[in-house]
């Protein structure tokens, strides 16, 4: 189903989820967001390889973040769940030991949920959208062509740069280069120098592209006029999602102003309570 959606709809959905992921702080809300994001990922019909890989990454990230935050949580209050190394005295000095803190685990879980929401949303876009369609959608966004078209071109050249880097390393081998055979200094110098032909190639390519664009009437300041139908229901849904994310951001800003004692409005008490418990 996700594959049939217009790439612009998916881009805006990902944008809304990413915005919410950095705005929300409550574990329950973030868990719901990560759940929606995971559902989107499943709707993208990932291959077994993608599914296994992303689940492994999700588990490792969550585990890593929770354990590291649980062990090294520095804020107060903090509640010890158990000690890995109990407190002890050594040479007359007190050591507090190494403990796992409940608040640390919670904080780690919140950070992990943020990450998972963004990751699954991004993955759902990637696995359900051919690169060409993604480029097409980006170049059709209502922003100056100088930004949309050229950023798309830059992304498109990335595989070329990677291939060139591989070819330059082959060229080194063909000239008899073996790492460390000529000493550490020379090896580092040689390894760093592979950037030179790749950089020079990139400059040459961008010059060629710029020449081709200029001679074909390209105006970098013009808005893209290309027509690509965007189903109105998809446009409405994606704009609604983006609007929701912006509203949440607005509410969080108001709540922050209240917490910082900059702005307090009596009429917004209900909103403050909502933000405190759910956002």
């Amino acid at each position: 189903m996700l594959k049939r959606l217009d790439p612009r709809t998916k881009i805006l959905l990902v944008l809304a989820i990413s915005l919410l992921a950095v705005t929300l702080d409550q574990a329950l809300s973030l868990a719901a967001l990560a759940g929606i994001s995971f559902l989107l990922f499943l709707l993208g019909q990932p291959s077994r390889f993608h599914l296994k890989g992303s689940l492994l990454m999700a588990v490792l990230t969550t585990w890593g973040l929770m354990v590291s935050q649980g062990l090294f949580y520095q804020n107060f209050p903090r509640t010890v769940i158990f000690y890995v190394i109990p407190p002890f005295k050594f040479l007359g000095r007190d050591f507090y030991g190494l403990a796992v803190y409940r608040q640390g685990l919670y904080y780690g879980a919140v950070q992990a949920l943020r990450f998972l929401a963004g990751m699954f949303a991004g993955l759902s876009l990637c696995i359900s959208t051919p690169v060409e369609h993604l480029f097409l959608a980006l170049s059709r966004l209502p922003i100056p062509q100088g930004l949309s078209f050229l950023s798309v071109s830059a992304i498109r050249f990335l595989p070329v740069v990677a291939e060139e880097l591989r070819r330059v390393r082959q060229a080194l081998r063909l000239k008899g280069y073996r790492p460390l055979a000529c000493g550490l200094y020379e090896s580092i110098r040689t390894e760093l120098s592979v950037v030179l032909p790749v950089l020079s190639g990139a400059i040459r390519r961008s010059q060629d592209l710029a020449d081709a664009l200029l001679t074909r009437g390209f105006d970098p300041l013009a808005l893209s006029s290309r027509d690509l139908p965007w189903p109105s229901w998809q446009k409405s849904v994606s704009l609604l999602c983006l609007l929701t994310a912006l509203v949440v951001l607005g509410v969080k800003l108001l709540f922050w102003l209240y917490l910082q004692e900059i702005l307090y409005l009596e009429g917004l008490r209900g909103l403050y309570a909502f933000a405190r418990h759910w956002l």
Binding site: S153, L174, G176, C182, E186, S200, R204, R216
Partner: protein
Amino acid sequence: MSITHRNRPFLRRAKPLVQVHRLTYTYPGRQVPSLQGIDFSVAEGEFVLVCGETGCGKSTLLSCLNGLIPYESGGELIGEVYLFGRKGPLPPQEAFPQVATVFQNPTSQLISDTVAGEVVFALENLGLHPEEINHRVEEALSFVDLISLKDLSPAELSGGQRQRLAIAAAIAVRPRLLLLDEPLSQLDPRGIEEVLRILKKLADQGLTIILVEHRVSEALPLVNRVIALEKGRIIYDGPPKDFGSPKEDYRALPPKESPSSEPALEVRNLCFAYPGKERLFEGLQLTFYRGERVALLGENGTGKSTFLSLLAGLLKPSSGKIVYHLRREPGRLKYSMLLQDPDLMLFRPSVYEELSFAPQMLGLSTKEREDRVCKMASTLRLSPRLPEPPFSLSRGERLRTALASLLTGAPQVLLLDEPTTAQDQKNVHTVLSALAAELIIFSTHDQAAAKAFAHRIIYFEDQGRIICDINAQTCLKQGS
């Protein structure tokens, strides 16, 4: 090439489309002008070939007409350029759509994800109505015989098809002047034929065309005027019949000594396929002998480069073996290979350092290194360039630098992937004359160079199939 100096009146025709008067242009940071006192005019409907050796100013002249010079390149431009009666050079955006340009590298100028989208791009920039755009896309793609491929990605096209697509994108805006900058240089013979056929059709319809090309013999039958440049000056301007076309003369190449019967390299039952693609080589059996020079011919995509990469160990065979029989000699590379894009082989800050890299890797003394560098720089006409950064050199010089950087490693087996592509004849001559190794294997589209330099010619066809493995002498006699 017979050179004729003629008086060229400033206004040759009643209604010239292009008039260039005493044009001199110097690139920023250079002392010597790239164009000096250029005078010519082009009438509507003329098909003009601009030729000359690499670095003579052909492409610079074209850039003065499409406005990239001086508006994008900067530099100092003296003299007058008139386009359609307007004083120029016009900025590229103003020259568009009356002037359309097709560049050398078809890959770097294609920007859309479909064949049709490529043609649409410039039409949308013109702000045309979608219906008119569709009509023109159909018209242009039909003209270059690509209409059946309009939904494909340009990446799926052959080199010749891509260049035809670039031409379609250029003519779709209905220009009055079409400029082409070496559109044939990177194409195989079939691609060249395809593009020339399209250019002939355009010329027959009366479009004014200025074609910059160093593959003169292929282009000459089509044009009705030739302008030859040398060191930034016009040395010939006249009809093609009076132009002494440069013959592909390789008689001055070092004589070929007979190869020995001692095998140097053996390919045994080689099979290879790129991941997820059809098998390219199936049970390939070949033996190469000491002292042999072997040319690999065939169209793009037939597996020549892959074969060389397999020999150089850059790719691993799916099955089968490649056996080097030559005994390793100290102070020499066992084998080396010139990549198709020599620029990827240049990574040192100066030509001298570039040339001394391989000897350094071989552990040679400073004296030995210097000897090899100086000898090779002299052979490949690079001595004055030794202190300069490789990327400041011309294309021909960069190729020679990359080659010299391999030859200073004195490889026993030398592999070269299209060393003649996009090079003028003088450069090809210099390069071929300098080649030295126990076994030389090179791929090329230049059949004349292959016949003149190689002992043996191997023709590849689709799927890496070898359709012919013959003695070059036989090939010459047969004139095939």
